[in-house]
């Protein structure tokens, strides 16, 4: 995606370097901590990569059944692979699915192999996981081929539309209609509460609450539907889903296997907004991002969420800090600049004087701090009051700000935000709004040079300065313990006003500290990836 490169704000390069180096300093102990732990979801993702899919008659995935049995028998400190492939080598079952079936009825005992047995089990696991990774590689090459054949959208920002009926078979025609109407990216938002499920549902699903469940089969169905649309329209229509919540690593793996193109994946969203344990989140997040990096998936981060709970002017710097941290964790996990859809949003109270100029300042700051990243520009939600007429105007200004500041991905705002799930006509009107602004002012960025000492430039410099202050404050939390800086800051409510202690939150019981001799070929292969 071509990104705007000429800087229009006079920001001190030394200050920008300082902000980045502080972010890296904050991130380093967290990465170290992530490397010292595993989680049930990382281990299940490894099993899935090795080809274990499906669920038992009650709908519990075989990955969960197998993992729980292994954990009960020998614990997870050494990883799931050694005991599982040891059992396969001992001839307990012909393949993973059969082993999972036997394990769930208690007819297999797992052990932790030692010596040559351990070496052989590790080698067998390595081979099986390698097959899965090569499938993900093949899907990436397939995308590259299709993009070459059908082409990228002609213009930026890419138009991003949400579909969510709860029923995958309703979603497919709606998504195809949205693509015909001009959407470049389709996001299928998930059923409310899927974040908090510690398993990935199985098969095609027809009911969800305010969204459709993310399952491997739903991914496959929707990607196939959009491949049809891409062919029909002569441009590659991208598909987005969510790698967040308790199953980030598994969903990232399924997304790679089914050629999804973008995934929501934020470093702190689950902690702050879903009360998921911080350690669990950081461990899961690193693995899922490594998979995204490998799969050629663009991540979308969730900074817009900060502004739905805190004031968009007062908390502007928390967005910048989160973007810097997201960038630092993403780079460490192997993602390239073009894969960083860093998020931000148009959420300033429209009654604040100069609100549009402030929005421009924040959007330009993000554009200039991350010149090569396809920024994800999120529409107003908080000040959409139900007055759909005023909302439509606000969305127009949101679109204008997006064009003017060279945003990469524009999530189309709906005037009925907070009233109903979007109607057919709402989507059509919203796309007309985007098209009008693009036709009328798409090239305005060329003429737009804020005065060097005007309100916009001054505001951007101030937000950057506040971001540096906040990063320093996070580092002040540092204690000898790893991760204490950021984890302690999260614990005392530095972000989004929510206090999330490192030993609280959901999913903590799924976190395991690694023992010497831990084996996980997926992690090794991803760590070694170029």
């Amino acid at each position: 995606m071509p990104a705007r490169s000429t800087p229009v704000l006079d920001l001190d390069p030394a200050t920008i370097r300082r902000a980045r180096s502080l972010a890296r300093k904050v991130g380093r102990p967290v990465v170290r901590m992530a490397k010292q732990h595993t989680t049930v979801s990382v281990e299940r993702a490894t099993l899935r990569m090795a080809g274990l899919g499906g669920a038992d008659p009650d709908g519990t995935p075989w990955a969960n059944r197998l993992l729980d049995t292994v954990r009960g028998d020998v614990g997870l400190e050494h990883g799931v692979c050694l005991p599982v492939w040891d059992a396969l080598l001992r001839g307990e079952a012909g393949d993973l699915a059969e082993l999972a079936g036997k394990a769930s009825v208690g007819s297999v005992r797992f052990r932790l192999p030692e010596g040559r047995d351990a070496t052989r089990a590790a080698a067998a696991a390595d081979k099986a996981v390698g097959v899965g990774l090569r499938r993900i590689d093949a899907r990436r090459r397939e995308r590259e081929r299709l993009v070459k054949r059908w082409g990228d959208p002609e213009q930026t920002p890419w138009v991003y539309l949400i579909v969510a009926t709860g029923d995958i078979y309703e979603d497919m025609p709606q998504a195809q209609q949205a693509a015909r109407a001009g959407a470049d990216v389709i996001a299928v938002i998930r059923s409310t509460g899927q974040s908090l499920l510690d398993f990935v549902p199985e098969g095609p699903t027809r009911e969800g609450y305010a969204g459709t469940y993310a399952t491997q089969e739903n991914f496959r169905l929707m990607r196939a539907a959009l491949d049809e649309s891409s062919k029909e329209l002569g441009r590659y229509v991208r598909l987005t889903n969510y790698a967040s919540g308790l199953c980030m690593p598994e969903i990232a793996t399924l997304a790679g296997l089914e050629r999804l193109d973008m995934m929501l994946n934020d470093s702190m969203y689950g902690i702050l907004f879903r009360d998921i344990n911080p350690v669990r989140t950081f461990v899961d997040q690193r693995f899922s991002r490594q998979v995204h990096a490998r799969a050629g998936i663009i991540i979308n981060t969730g900074e817009d969420n900060y502004l739905t709970t805190a004031d968009a002017v007062d908390a502007a710097h928390t967005v910048t800090v989160s973007q810097l941290l997201n960038e630092c964790f993403a780079k460490e996990a192997g993602l390239a600049d073009w894969q960083l859809g860093l998020g931000h949003a148009f959420e300033i109270d429209p009654d604040v004087p100069d609100s549009f100029r402030l929005e421009l300042a924040h959007a330009l700051l993000a554009r200039q701090l991350f010149p090569k990243a396809p920024l994800k520009w999120m529409p107003p939600t908080r000040h959409m009051s139900g007055d759909v007429f005023r909302g439509y105007l606000l969305d127009g200004f949101f679109n204008l700000a997006g064009m003017l500041t060279g945003q990469g991905i524009l999530l189309v705002g709906m005037m009925t935000e907070a009233v109903v799930t979007p109607w057919l006509s709402d989507r059509d009107l919203a796309l007309q709004n985007v098209r009008y602004v693009r036709n009328a002012a798409g090239g305005l960025a060329e003429d737009f040079h804020p005065a060097p000492d005007g309100l916009i430039a001054r505001r951007a410099r101030r937000v950057l300065a506040e971001s540096i202050d906040l990063l320093e404050r996070i580092l002040d939390h540092a204690e000898p313990d790893f991760g204490a800086g950021l984890l302690a800051a999260i614990a005392d409510g530095t972000f989004g006003l929510m206090r999330r202690p490192a030993d609280g939150g959901r999913g903590l019981d799924g976190v395991v500290r690694l023992a010497p001799g831990y084996v996980n070929p997926a992690r090794d292969l991803l760590d070694g990836a170029p």
């Binding site: 709970t309 805190a310 006509s425």
Partner: protein, 254 residues
């Protein structure tokens, strides 16, 4: 307290630009391809809805199978304001100062409020608008009140967790926000919550239960088993005033 005297009954019609002209606008989509037939169909619908005369001022194809319309027209219906039933505020609206003072004098300790979004609901906008110091519509949230201690549990709190936290915090009042309304999730959630508190507490010790959200009907309190329901547009000041009334001055906590 005293309910405001009802407004005198009045017969009114919608107002476009002249008293009594009865003009309304509406928009809708029909699953009919754009064309004469579609516009005729729109007029038929408008007529059946009581618009006479009706004008289709805009019709636009949305894909091959649908047409979107904007329609203006005159309605013949009369509105009798004397027949309208609403719940008027039955407690005095207090400023933060007055609320603080009332609590200090009447309760002689801080009033403890616990709040959150229950079930799978992750939309904290509502509860935060009431609890966070930031508040809503220029009205500061309950955290701003010196005599109110706020425990905000945030999103996706389970009902047992809420009961447990309420006990731990020795909460005087429990505020629950429900935004997600699919399949009546907000109603079911509120009922489950009130039932759990009734089970967990002896009647006279149960905290005051308040639910709020944009899709609640304020007349549903009894049905939901709660003490008060707040709908769209409620300000923190109204909630604070109600709590003072229910727990301190009114003495009619359930």
């Amino acid at each position: 307290m005293t309910a405001p005297t009802p407004a005198p009954a009045q017969i009114v019609r919608p107002y476009g630009d002249t008293t009594g002209d009865g003009m309304v606008q509406l928009s809708f989509t029909l699953p009919v391809p754009h064309g004469k037939l579609a516009e005729g169909s729109a007029l038929q619908l408008a007529g059946k809805m009581g618009l006479d005369p009706a004008m289709v001022v805009h019709a636009k194809a949305m894909g091959p199978d649908f047409t979107f319309f904007v329609v203006y027209g005159r309605v013949q219906h009369l509105v009798d304001t004397g027949q309208v039933v609403v719940i008027e505020r039955d407690y005095p609206l207090l400023s933060p100062r007055e609320a603080n003072l009332a609590i200090r004098k009447g309760l002689r300790r801080r009033l403890i409020v616990i709040g959150g979004c229950i079930g799978t609901d992750a939309h904290t906008v509502g509860i935060d608008a009431i609890l966070n110091i930031k508040g809503f519509a220029g009205d500061k949230g309950l955290e701003y009140y010196r005599e109110i201690k706020v425990v905000n549990l945030g999103a996706q709190v389970s009902v047992p967790q809420l009961v447990e936290s309420a006990r731990e915090a020795r909460a005087d009042a429990v505020l629950v926000s429900q935004v997600v309304t699919q399949r009546d999730a907000h109603v079911l959630g509120a009922k489950e919550m009130s039932a759990a508190f009734r089970e967990a507490y002896p009647a006279e010790q149960r905290p005051v239960l308040v639910v709020g959200g944009p899709r609640f009907d304020e007349q549903m309190a009894a049905e939901l088993g709660v003490d008060r329901v707040f709908g769209r547009g409620t300000t923190p000041g109204e909630v604070a005033s109600f709590l003072v009334h229910a727990l301190v001055t009114g003495g009619q906590a359930a």
